[in-house]
């Protein structure tokens, strides 16, 4: 503490450069511990996924990889139902992306570009969804879904997942469109574009990266959701629902393989949207 006050830096900007060596060391130790905290469980579940039956029961375990092979994972993927569940998960997540963008982006555009009566009521509706444990809503939907033939379909699952992703998409796209000056659009109108043309040719290209990030978040929301997916499916399970159902009876190495497959897309997606992460969540959490 005293070290800092005696050699107080000229400006706050490069203060970290002047941190005393001891404090820097402490900081980096802490960072390394935090990184390990996040990465180690993922590393271990990967070892479990590729270590097979023998790997699970080896005792005592070494933290270094040994006898890893692709076969255990392949075996897992060829179990009856796993591949189908994987496909169902992808369909449900894909539809969730489609619906939440198709419904959320226009609403976001309306909130960004217009003032209209009922605007605040709409915002309240969107925010209200946050105070509710949404997946629980799958419980009463079972009955109506059976009646409508939506029960046990990836489409039905994607509907409830869209309820989870839509408020998020509306809020994020709102700020996205607010960031694109309306003068650009007005200029296009002056040059004879219709509103739709102006939107398609001027606004959309600028909004595309942000929309892609929103889409990826919607995908992850659906891909990860367990409760509603398990309630609403029996045979056409998504991967999470399938894994939850077989938890009790499947051997450990299959569970780890399943866990690993669930984790991989998330890691890649978070990497893909890392630039947008804070903007998007900063907005969505308002």
């Amino acid at each position: 503490m005293t070290a800092i006050t005696t050699e107080r830096p000229q400006a706050g900007k490069n203060r970290s450069m002047t941190l005393p060596a001891a404090r820097r060391f402490l900081l980096w130790t802490g960072i390394v511990v935090l990184l390990a905290w996040v990465l180690v469980p993922i590393y271990f579940v990967a070892l479990g996924a590729f270590g097979g039956r023998l790997g699970v029961f080896r005792w005592p375990k070494s933290i270094w990889p040994s006898n890893l092979a692709i076969e255990p994972m392949m075996q897992f993927l060829t179990i009856e139902g796993v591949f189908n569940a994987l496909v169902n998960s992808l369909i449900a997540a894909g539809l969730t992306v489609l619906f939440s963008i198709a419904l959320g982006a226009p609403a976001g555009y309306a909130l960004a570009r217009y003032t209209f009566r009922g605007q605040n009521a709409y915002r309240l509706l969107v925010l209200l969804t946050r105070a509710f444990p949404l997946a629980i809503l799958a419980l009463p939907l079972t009955v109506s879904f059976i009646r409508l033939g939506l029960y046990d379909t990836p489409f039905g699952v994607s509907l409830i997942h869209t309820v989870l992703a839509l408020p998020f998409a509306a809020l994020v796209t709102q700020s996205l469109f607010m960031g694109i000056p309306r003068e650009y659009e007005e200029a296009a109108w002056v040059f004879g574009c219709t509103r739709l043309q102006a939107f398609m040719r001027v606004v959309l290209p600028l909004a595309l990266p942000g929309l892609a990030a929103t889409a990826i978040f919607a995908f992850v929301i659906s891909w990860n959701e367990v409760f509603a997916a398990s309630i609403l499916t029996v045979r056409e399970r998504t991967l999470t629902a399938y894994l939850l159902r077989i938890l009790a009876e499947s051997p450990l190495h299959y569970r780890f393989a399943g866990g690993f497959i669930l984790i991989i897309p998330s890691v890649l997606f978070i990497f893909a949207v890392r630039r947008y992460l804070f903007a998007v969540w900063g907005i969505a959490s308002k």
Binding site: M1, G12, S16, M17, L19, I31, L34, W37, V38, P41, F44, W59, P60, I63, L103, P106, A107, Y109, A110, Y114, T115, F116, R130, A131, F132, P133, L134, I136, L137, A138, L139, P140, L141, V163, L166, R195, N224, E225, F227, S230, I231, T240, L243, L244, L247, L252, R255, G259, L262, S266, V267, I270, F271, R274, L277, F278, W281, G282, S285, K286
Partner: protein, 283 residues
Amino acid sequence: MPARASWIPYALIAPSVVFLGVLFIVPLVQTVWLSVATGDGISLENYQRMAGDLNFSLAVRNTFLLTLVVVPVQVALALAMATMVTKLDKGRDLVLWVLTIPLGISDLAAGLAWLSLLQNTGYLNSALYALGLISGPTGWLSQETPWALFFSIAMAEIWRATAIVLVILIAGLQLIPKEFSEAAEIFGARPWTRFRRITLPLLKPSLQSALILRTVLAFEVFAVVYALGGRNFPVLAGEAYVWQNDNQNYGVAAAYAVLIMTISLAATAVYLRVLRTRPEQLP
């Protein structure tokens, strides 16, 4: 200047309003209705069955205990992470990426990842064995070791969902003007004082949304618990799942759902009140 009101904005929000009406408002009402509707009219029978169930009080206790432990630890940990990350000059993006990876990991996968660590012949036991603390594979996740099981579930939850708090807090920190802290520093405020008197109060809106989000989700906790402890550790959402899927009793499941929703709403109301920010306090 936003454009003059016309029919266009209504046409734009209409699809999402209809969608949320059909798939959010209707099921909400349906849940309440299902929970009170019994063969002949309205009664609290489902609630009585719920409260009379052996697992009920355990589930309530466990869910609350988990929330009370997990949410504060997550906020504290996320604050520590955010403070450390903002001090970095090199490698900041990489560190942030790694720290936010759990954001995209489902609760089920998180449970399974921690299972690989904590199972009988897992890495924790191997480490304890190497240190000479245990003599062979030991179980931590059964009914005989309720506290170890609780602790394991709490760890997995903290591991998974701290990232979301971190992201919200960092997004909030970016909104705080640097000048405030610099001014305080010039007047001789120590780092801890600056944090407590400047950063924390200005971060209140972000803290509020992080707390609401996390608390609502914590009362919904389910898959982590199942992945690690099966039915050894009853929680509210898990009981709702069992009543719905295994017992095929939609009424009692709905009663659980109403209970979870009520608790979530109450928690949200408390946060909104306790952590409210007056407009004049905003920077």
